[in-house]
């Protein structure tokens, strides 16, 4: 078996979830690497979009900002933030990648603040940015995040971006588009999805060498388990070579993982 780092495994696992011919709104960092890797392997017809207006670039390097010129370098279209968001709202965009300081069992995300006083938060984070919009409007939300109890929380200090809110039917009741919502959460320990009925997070595969109890220990709420619980497929040499040599040769992302 090939040798790989946790971040390499996370990126490879995420890239394999992107269908060929799909559209995906990505941010900077690992999600962008996963989308680029997918384009170079299983999904050559994947269309990348960036929330500031970049559509279908031939990415020369990793963008530093989701609005920088790399996001539309040799792109198919350089348009507006509204055009990209409305393409999501219209129902054309299959995937998006989101992150946050906290995530709960329904895939709700917090990227706004820590503390219980809104007016004077303990820690102020940037806020939604485009996350709430993308999490509301794209069909499937993917999360790539480190796995620890601080992040995987029973109760969020602030729901910035909707997952399944408080459970089955809640998105639809709130007016969010039916059939949309969190899809997979990819961490350094496991890949999780969401149970069809309860909309609760469930472990689908454990990364090689990781046990379920280790995952549960690092999670602040009770995880469900999908049967049969699998082992996350290890990336093969070819994929790793493309990731290392073509996607992130300067190790901007791989160097951090």
């Amino acid at each position: 078996m090939a040798d790989f780092s946790p971040i390499e495994l996370m990126i490879c696992a995420a890239s394999e979830m992107l269908d060929d011919g799909a559209m995906v709104v990505v941010g900077t960092g690992a999600p962008c690497a996963a989308a680029m890797l997918a384009q170079k392997t299983s999904a050559p017809n994947l269309t990348l979009m960036f929330e500031a207006g970049g559509v279908g670039p031939l990415l020369p390097r990793m963008p530093i900002s989701v609005g920088d010129s790399r996001t539309f370098y040799q792109g198919l279209m350089a348009t507006s933030m509204a055009d990209v968001m409305e393409t999501c709202q219209r129902g054309l965009v299959d995937y998006t990648f989101l992150g946050g300081a906290q995530i709960d069992m329904y895939g709700n995300l917090n990227s706004t603040l820590i503390g219980d006083n809104y007016e004077q938060p303990k820690v102020r984070f940037p806020g939604s940015g485009g996350a709430n919009d993308l999490g509301s409007l794209c069909w499937r939300v993917l999360v790539i995040t480190p796995h620890d109890r601080r992040r995987f929380n029973e109760r969020l200090d602030f729901i910035t971006t909707p997952g399944y809110l408080d459970g089955p039917g809640a998105r639809e009741r709130a007016g969010l588009p039916p059939g949309s919502g969190p899809y997979k959460v990819i961490t350094n320990m496991a890949v999780m999805g969401f149970d069809e009925e309860s909309k609760r997070m469930q472990v689908e595969s454990l990364h090689p060498g990781v046990t379920f109890s280790e995952v549960q220990e690092n999670t602040g709420f009770e995880l469900l388990v999908r049967a049969p619980l699998e082992t996350t497929a290890a990336p093969d040499e070819a994929m790793l070579r493309i990731l290392r040599e073509e996607v992130d040769p300067h190790r901007y992302i791989l160097g951090r993982g």
Partner: protein
């Protein structure tokens, strides 16, 4: 009059009026002659930015931003401004230099979609201090809904519907309302219009009257320029009106939206200017680093911002044309 349709409403403060008749009355009286609007940044800021004004910053935080105007607002010690933070990053950080630095309070209210962060570069310690101080009133939004607020204003209507923000604390801390669709009955978010007092936008080219071209993504600027009551343009290049007229399809902002045109080559530095120069990541890191320590921060701001008389002096101590040349190479690398 009935407002019976409102199912739920956010508790966030509405920081600007949603009265489209008042906005119409304002726009009616504004001069619309094609006159020469070229002036120095210092004049544009002293004439068109008034204490208490609500600002919108064009571009995308560190991409195509009107750095020169933002610096000048801080230098002129404008007070009690509001700001629309739809992915504001370095622009927000610049404005925060006027808070908690012994120069009164530059920012006192923020519509927040994305603030205090610089995307992949990390968070601004000073912007966080400002936002954690309790001195600044905040209303939450998302990037799209904040863009939609400008769009509503540009369209001249008091609100627009969206399917975003619903069900979250972002909604609860916003000033949006949940309504039901008059056609389908389905719940929708009603996003109120936002007419900023002043917008500051950096563009690739403008003529002397303010007919502007932008290359690359327009982010929300098409609507921001139309929504704002006063618009200050900075441009990489001044072009002739004949050049504008040679390709009217390329005009992004028409002259009748614009109040001041300032020629500022390199004007998005240290931000990225598409097709011109990439962002100066070293300078941005130095700024973030300086903010981790109060003394270092004061020294940094004195050197780069308060101690410089204008943007060109700032650019000079950042490396001037040599540095811009390096960033031009960076921009054009495949």
């Amino acid at each position: 009059m009935t407002k019976s349709n409102v199912l739920q409403e956010g508790v966030g403060p509405l920081l600007t009026s949603v009265d489209c008749d008042a906005a119409r009355a304002y726009f009616r009286t504004q001069p619309k002659e094609m006159v020469d609007k070229v002036m120095p940044v210092s004049e544009a800021v002293s004439r068109f930015v008034v204490d208490g004004d609500y600002l919108a910053s064009g571009g995308f935080g560190g991409d195509r931003i009107a750095t020169a105007v933002l610096h000048e607002i801080v230098r002129q010690k404008k007070q009690h401004l509001g700001i629309a933070g739809h992915t504001t990053t370095h622009d927000f950080q610049i404005l925060c230099s006027g808070n908690l630095t012994g120069r009164g309070q530059l920012l006192d209210r923020v519509d927040a979609a994305y603030i205090v962060g610089l995307e992949a570069r990390g968070l601004s310690p000073h912007a966080r201090r400002v936002m954690q101080s309790g001195d600044v009133r905040v209303c939450e939004w998302s990037n799209y809904t904040l863009a939609l607020r400008f769009q509503a204003a540009a369209m001249g209507v008091p609100y627009l519907p969206a399917r975003s923000m619903l069900g979250t604390d972002t909604f609860k801390r916003s000033a949006a309302k949940q309504i039901s669709c008059p056609f389908t009955g389905a719940p929708l978010a009603a996003i109120p219009a936002l007419w900023p007092d002043v917008a500051v936008i950096h563009v690739h080219a403008s003529d002397e009257f303010g007919n502007c071209r932008i290359r690359g993504t327009s982010v929300a600027d098409w609507h921001v320029a139309r929504a704002a009551k006063k618009v200050i343009i900075t441009c990489e290049q001044l072009i002739s009106n004949a050049e504008i007229r040679s390709d009217p399809t390329s005009t992004t902002i028409p002259f009748f939206c614009v109040d001041a045109v300032c020629l500022v080559p390199g004007g998005s530095f240290p931000g990225n200017m598409p097709y011109e120069y990439f962002s100066d990541e070293m300078h941005l890191q130095a700024w973030l680093q300086a903010e981790t320590d109060a003394t270092a921060h004061a020294t940094f701001l004195e050197k780069y911002l308060f101690g410089t008389k204008d943007f060109s002096e700032y650019l000079e101590i950042c490396g001037g044309e040599d540095r811009i040349s390096e960033l031009r190479k960076e921009e054009l690398i495949v």
